[in-house]
Symmetry: C2
Subunit: 589 residues, 2 copies
């Protein structure tokens, strides 16, 4: 097929869009691939639609190779299945909700676990029907609080979501592996670097969960990896707790005056001034226990104030805290929260005072108290005595205070040991491009999906969920492959195979171009032909570079001698060759 | 490609779905093509998705041949453009409306005129950019009051909607014709009988409008056609008004007692009993003027009672009334309406009484009065005198009463003259499968789409809108092509090219089938292979007939001799041939 620019629906723009925050957004709008309709909602123009279609073809091929069958669900779905799974509430404001003319509740689906589960429940009833993996490529909706970065975080986006159904855990492992392998093949075909990291199961419930991250400094996600092969999203990183220390021989806690020390740094300075030095030579932030007050908003709307104790040299990582306390929402406690809890003495909070435990189950306040996993029994801390300008030292965990539980909310640092013993980790940033996920039996239980096993016994089905953000990957490819003149698509997803540019005033170049294009078409190539009679060569080359088809064929002055130029958009190399050779080289690939 | 039934995601059902009102719905659900999610909202299973994809490919090919370029808009759109065009209000309850987390208004688009207009306004500015036709194949939403008949009237449905942009009326005519021609080619390729009828412009505004109807007794639309070539939807049919008659010499109106005559039939009987006979021999319903009270609900919510006078032998056609009074909604007046208008004497309503005009501009009541176009000046009528049990005769239109306007609300009848003089019309029923429409400048004016013409003058663009209901057509094809055993797809849209059924207990038939399938695949055919080892031949043939792939290849007892059977699903013909011949015949087409 040939598409002629003289008639094609395309207008490249000289100016960057005012709202473009990232390169992919800027270039995809300027080169005429997408157009904004509302915050985080885009229309696809012909060029964009072509790239998207090629990307989807690659995904479909690999899904077929993995034995998955394609279906298609509506975006508009009734409330009931999402009510049954709990997600109608859990999704909070991120869910687009609406009512029909009869007042019935509907939503625009963010993902489709529930209705896939119900579909299989409707149609299948025996272990013989399994394993089954079905998928769709479909437009999804999430009412992001802050849609941004063009297609990278939209409110409407295209996703390939697959769901597997098995009746044994081994079956789920195999189905999971098949999708995981397919994802690797997809990213390899796209030339997209990826790291597979352990991920938090999050709001989806379930057990094993891995993300495919594309490593990039502009990524929204932080992940850690060790030389020994460990890799995890920071939300999923688990702390290696030290061994407990015997209480025997440890001194009793002692309260000391600490005027003007509401911060860790002032406390450490004061401790070094007034306390005996430790064996290590000096008190540091790591010897202190920092108690942070957080406010949780539970699904039922109630607000709870909790305190988290972490070593004083660690910050709270808001994303880890979000995961640790999900599905409740977490924020720092406000002045109002403190007013409502006068027993918490700001700047000097601690789990213990000379009146007894201040925090935790047996405490005076009844406020729940959580600890970082490093605060094991027998560790000794300098921390607040919960009296104004007073701290306590030699406060021993497990002896003098206990917690309501341990939480992974402290920030991960370079050099922290990987939980699998594979050495210290380094930190990097990445962008999520895929997610594979063992849901387990959560949805099947909530919605009653059971099958008869070999012994005629009803067993609950175990599921997996596997997502790739189609439009997000497209944006990431655009983000990766470009230069200061425009986009440079990988051949696998380029909107056209060859971009032919004819220049000059006479008919000669255009005639030769037509003949070359005929041969390219006959070989099954998709050709974009810049046949605009009045556009200058500068305009044509500028547009070609902006649009970013990787292979250019230029027919100009050499046309009289039957010669054309082959341009490589990526390397910039140009080569003058006889037209026949050019065709042979382009069609040979 | 081969798809093996032993693993395929498919479950055919023995029972008809409880809610299936029509054959297509019943068979598409039973054969595993679609599955209901909510009223008028369906999921597409692998078989259905394949048929839909083939249908979409045909549409895409013909759109490309017509010079149209594909784009893709979101379903979720902001309110503002639809507010500007007036459709946010006009669509009434049929529009799915929602708010985002910030309270901004959004809708699920029923069609996309507004945003296509804005897109072109964004990107184009000169007559040189035109003509342009762009289209999308996209899921649309309409909150139908009564979704029914499966895919035939859903609340979510897939449509191909194209929009053309021109700066001259001649240009619009050409763009319109190109789409109209493409539609004819599409329906011809699908083997779908169609009639092109004049249609009402309806809520879309604009001028020329034609519908493609598939003639079928179960169709929702009624249309008329004459032997001379006229064809129109009844909503668009225009009445041929007779010539006016001179007032001279016509007797004056006279009121007469008419006890117990609130209906046309009782009135006619009474007239024949008490009045002098007319020249034609007897009074008939056609001599009487029936005055029907209707209640209009305007867009601003106000309710207005109006009266419509039609010849007594005609009924009001609710669909024609709907069009005549659009965008107001029309219903029969209620008891409450009559109570609020005590001057209207029920059963004896007329435009005139001995006290003067009762209806119309100069009347006592101020109630608007509309007439059927046949009630021309000089026609003489028997009608209500607006007093209980009194009528008037010799009441002459234009002399004794006038109207606020003429409306096309009377039902069309077989034998009515076509408005173009091409003879009497017959009535038939049909189902809408396409709609081509000259919108004109309505949307471009509302949204400010102008381009510079050859003289550097800003001119408003003129548009066309062209729709094909993809999922509806699929359902119509299923409705048309089936028998008591299942579906029978046309080859152009069948989910597979060949359905291979292997039977028997030994490996022989399966081995031969595999070898035949290898050759079919090599020839580029899509094959469905029923390789289920434990299913009986009866189950396999039953499923094959239900699924409806038109060409079956059966490998059974003859396998030992290298023979297979070719079955034609439509004709039922079966033929035993050597395997090599079967492959040659199937791949030759």
């Amino acid at each position: 097929m040939v598409t002629r620019l003289s008639h094609f629906f395309l207008r490249t723009l000289r100016e960057d869009p005012a709202d473009a925050e990232v390169t992919s957004h800027r270039l995809l709008v300027r080169a005429g691939y997408i157009r904004r309709q509302a915050p985080g909602v885009f229309a696809w123009l012909p060029l964009g639609l072509r790239v998207k279609a090629r990307l989807e073809t690659i995904i479909r091929e690999e899904m077929a190779a993995a034995g998955a069958y394609e279906v298609h669900f509506p975006a508009l779905l009734p409330r009931e299945p999402y009510e049954a799974s709990g997600r109608w509430e859990e999704y909070g404001d991120a869910l687009f909700r609406l009512k029909d003319r009869k007042g019935a509740d509907y939503l625009l689906a963010p993902t489709h676990e529930e209705v896939f589960t119900l579909l299989v429940k409707d149609l299948y009833s025996s272990y013989k029907d399994l394993p089954l993996t079905i998928y769709q490529i479909q437009d999804k909706y999430r009412d992001e609080a802050r849609p941004r970065a063009g297609l990278l975080r939209g409110r409407e986006f295209t996703m390939k979501d697959a769901y597997s159904f098995d009746y044994t855990d081994e079956g789920l492992d195999a189905s999971y592996q098949a999708q995981r392998d397919a994802y690797e093949r997809i990213f390899q075909r796209l030339g997209l670097e990826y790291v597979i990291v352990q991920a938090d199961a999050g709001a989806m419930g379930g057990s094993r969960s891995e993300e495919f991250l594309h490593p990039t400094p502009v990524g929204e996600d932080t992940f850690v990896r060790s030389e020994g092969g460990y890799a995890a999203n920071v939300e999923a990183f688990t702390t290696v707790a030290p061994d407990p220390i015997p209480f025997d021989g440890q001194p009793a806690p002692a309260i000391f005056d600490s005027p003007g020390t509401p911060t860790i740094q002032t406390l450490v300075d004061h401790a070094n001034a007034v306390l005996d030095k430790p064996a290590t030579g000096a008190w540091t932030a790591a010897h202190t226990l920092k108690n942070v007050v957080l406010a949780l908003t539970h699904l039922d709307g109630t607000r709870e104030v909790v305190v988290v104790g972490v070593p004083g040299d660690r910050d709270i990582d808001p994303k880890r805290a979000e995961v640790a306390f999900a599905p409740a929402e977490v924020e720092a406690a406000t002045d109002e929260d403190f007013e409502r809890h006068p027993l918490l003495v700001r700047g000097y909070i601690g789990p213990w005072s000379d009146t007894g435990p201040i925090l935790g189950e047996e405490s005076a306040t009844g406020i729940r108290y959580f600890l970082d996993p490093r605060v094991v029994d027998g560790t000794s801390w300098i921390t607040g005595a919960n009296q104004h300008e007073k701290h306590v030292h030699s406060l021993v965990a497990g002896r003098d205070f206990t917690a309501d539980g341990f939480v992974e909310v402290a920030a991960v640092r370079e050099g922290d040991p990987a939980p699998d013993g594979s050495g210290p980790v380094t930190l990097a940033r990445g962008m999520e491009i895929g997610h594979v996920f063992q849901l387990g039996r959560k949805y099947a239980e909530a919605l009653g999906l059971k099958v008869l096993d070999e012994n005629g016994k009803l067993v609950t089905v175990t599921m997996g969920s596997y997502g790739i953000g189609v439009t997000r990957i497209l944006a990431i490819i655009a983000e990766l492959f470009n230069d200061d003149r425009g986009l440079i698509w990988p051949e696998s997803v380029a909107p056209f195979d060859v971009h032919v540019v004819a220049t000059g005033k006479g008919a000669e170049a255009y005639d030769l171009a037509e003949s070359v294009i005929g041969e390219l078409e006959a070989a099954g190539l998709d050709v974009l032909f810049d046949d605009r009679p009045k556009a200058s060569p500068g305009v044509k080359f500028g547009d070609a570079e902006l649009i970013g088809v990787p292979r250019l064929l230029v027919v100009g002055r050499g046309a009289a001698d039957g010669e054309v130029e082959l341009w490589d958009r990526r390397s910039g190399e140009r080569e003058t060759v006889p037209a026949a050779d050019a065709v042979a080289r382009l069609t040979a690939r």
